[in-house]
């Protein structure tokens, strides 16, 4: 606080000290509460704020060290897989010969998601519940819904934030692999010209994997306020359906006809986006090679993928839409 004299000293500007040295004075004024007169950007700003907050939550940014460990560990693992594949391809090209990678049929872009999908599923299982569970557990959701934001806005912003993270996490190792394969080739430009079509394929396939994983993980997270419960359930869902469906599909194929086994194999939740990946790359991954579901027509596999992506996303939306009239 200050008085009128302090204000005057400011108005008069700088003072000259005894030694002729100019001294600067500063005064702090308490001007009391000021009304906000700036722009109010409404609903769009609210959506963007929730989206940005979602990105920070998913990556543990602005949080303590513990919040960063799990997301960055899984991002690191996914990147290392891509890096190892790139290094192996580069070493084979260097020490065996320029065309050895193709002749040896080493894993490439089309195989990456088949190999690393489990890492993405566990990452989603661990990180996605953090997007929704604490807001409901701590009651923060009540504060969001009394602002210029509907339940649909909130859940869509959160979904899109996690989807963005999943897309980046899915593309990042593929880009490392692309860079490694291109630079490890005897003629990088020729390699690029021959394989440029892999770029839109890997982008599309990564996006498909991200959308599927995000929807399923966020739906499960919407049913509990405890992150741990959602994570354990999701890990179980992704991991347990694989041996269960593989075993049952084989039994049914032996006992009855192959169609029953094919349908059971469709419920292997880990394989659903990998089948789409196979269609995009027109190749069969190592994990889907033995899956009877792969024998279905592409239209069935794509419809099944959309059912398991849009279905959970729709149920998630319905659950949050009800929160505001």
């Amino acid at each position: 606080m200050t008085n009128g004299n302090d204000a005057d000293s400011i108005a008069n500007g700088n003072d000259t000290g005894a030694g002729g040295v100019e001294t600067l004075e500063g005064t702090v004024f308490d001007i009391g509460y000021q009304h906000y007169a700036g722009p109010r950007e409404g609903r769009n700003r609210a959506r963007i704020a929730v989206y940005k907050d979602g990105l920070r939550i998913a990556l543990g940014l602005g949080r303590g060290g513990r919040a960063k460990i799990l997301p960055w560990f899984f991002i690191g693992v996914a990147g290392v897989i891509g890096l190892v594949m790139a290094l192996v391809a580069g070493a084979v090209n260097t020490y065996i010969g320029p065309d050895a990678v193709e002749q040896l049929n080493l894993p490439s872009h089309s195989d990456y998601y088949g190999i690393a999908s489990i890492v993405f599923f566990v990452f989603a299982a661990v990180s996605a519940p953090e997007m929704l569970c604490p807001d409901r557990r701590d009651g923060v959701i009540n504060l969001y819904l009394v602002r210029p934001l509907s339940g649909s806005d909130y859940v869509f912003a959160r979904w899109f934030a996690f989807f963005t993270v999943m897309v980046v996490v899915a593309w990042f190792p593929q880009i490392i692999l692309l860079f490694g394969l291109t630079m490890g080739s005897a003629s990088p430009w020729d390699y690029f010209l021959e394989n440029w079509a892999d770029i839109p394929r890997l982008l599309a396939s990564g996006t498909a994997l991200a959308a599927y994983t995000t929807s399923l993980a966020m739906l499960v997270a919407s049913f509990t306020t405890r992150r741990a419960y959602a994570s354990v359930f999701l890990v179980g869902l992704f991991l347990i359906t694989t041996p269960f469906t593989v075993g049952l599909a084989a039994e049914l194929a032996d006992e009855f006809d192959n169609t029953a086994g094919q349908w059971v194999s469709m419920f292997n939740l880990s394989n659903i986006p990998v089948h789409v990946n196979d269609l995009i790359f027109d190749d069969v991954s190592a994990v889907t090679e033995i899956a009877p579901a792969g024998l279905f027509a592409p239209s069935i596999l794509i419809s099944w993928y959309f059912l398991w992506t849009l279905g959970p996303a729709g149920i998630l939306w319905m659950r949050y839409r009800k929160l505001t009239p």
Binding site: D138, V146, S150
Partner: protein, 309 residues
């Protein structure tokens, strides 16, 4: 004075339960208290104005817009819920900045507003600490700060003194008064603590069983009555006898006595009775009505009608 909130024949039914029954009132600038017992319909009314609940019938207008149709109007409203609503791992500065952005403020201005609001609510020094380590009083202040950070026209406070010790409660009530008198933000304050409402609010709305039973200026309900309240240290019974001998009507009120008298002559009668009965006077004052009396009257009226109060 233009009304900020208007309830017109507002009703809300949850299957067989009537939460609000054809309620109409207007709230203008100032501090208004909504009083009522648990289940009186206070929270339902607030939720309807915040757009969280759709009324079964009637309309709730807020700042000139229909509360259940306009999402945008919520950028001019603040809400402090009764229950916990703070993330434990985030600092108050970060949380308030985020809440200001969600209210529609651009990021840079949101940061400035967050710092200013924390200063005005007395949390500036603690703003970078994770809120999980805050005391109950500090958490209540953050809850109020997040309701004010975007400079709303009106702020809804749901039981703001719940869980606070006497010092914390005093501080919170002072902050609520400051919210209107210094910040110029109107307050709608729901509570079942009549003392808090009596000391803080300019006007009250009393709900009971989903119906509006009273509304008006707090001063109208707490004005001086035609009763004098006295307390004595001894000879209480002799004093009562002496007063009754003089034809003065006396009723017992806790440790004291209420003496009815329409004019100042009653003071002469009291003085004479005190001398006769040799009762040492401790306190004598004209009695003021309290909001508690209002509830007593209403409960009494219900009992007379055969209803369970």
């Amino acid at each position: 004075m233009a009304a900020l909130l208007i309830a017109e024949n507002l009703a809300k039914h949850y299957k067989d339960v009537v939460a609000l029954d054809d309620v109409s009132f207007e709230i203008s600038e100032g501090i208004t208290g909504i009083l009522g017992e648990n289940g009186a319909g206070k929270s339902t009314a607030i939720k309807i104005f915040l757009g969280l609940v759709q009324p079964t019938s009637g309309t709730a207008m807020i700042l000139g817009e229909n509360a259940s149709e306009s999402v945008g109007i919520r950028s001019r409203l603040g809400y402090m819920p009764e229950h916990d609503c703070l993330p434990t791992t985030v600092s108050a500065a970060e949380f308030l900045t985020h809440m200001a952005e969600v209210s529609g403020l651009p990021p840079k201005r949101a940061r400035i507003r967050a710092a200013d609001t924390l200063r005005h609510t007395g949390l500036f020094e603690e703003r970078y600490r994770a809120m999980g380590g805050y005391s109950t009083g500090m958490k209540q202040r953050v809850k109020l700060a997040q309701a004010l950070v975007h400079d709303p026209a009106i702020v809804f406070l749901d039981e703001p003194t719940a869980g606070l010790d006497p010092v914390g409660r005093e501080e919170m009530l002072a902050l609520i008064r400051k919210t209107h008198r210094e910040f110029g933000i109107s307050v709608l304050f729901s509570s079942h603590l009549m003392v808090d409402v009596e000391r803080t609010c300019d006007r009250i709305i009393v709900l009971q069983g989903g119906q509006l039973v009273e509304s008006g200026e707090v001063g109208d309900f707490t004005k001086e009555t035609e009763t004098v309240f006295i307390e004595v240290d001894a000879n209480r019974e002799r004093l009562v006898a002496a007063l009754e001998q003089r034809g003065v009507h006396v009723t017992s009120d806790g440790g004291g006595l209420n003496i009815e008298g329409a004019d100042e002559s009653v003071y002469d009668e009291i003085r004479a009775a005190l001398v006769d009965s040799e009762a040492p006077l401790r306190r004598m004052a004209p009695r003021r009505s309290e909001l508690t009396d209002l509830f007593r009257r209403k409960a009494g009226a219900k009992s007379d009608n055969g209803e369970t109060p």
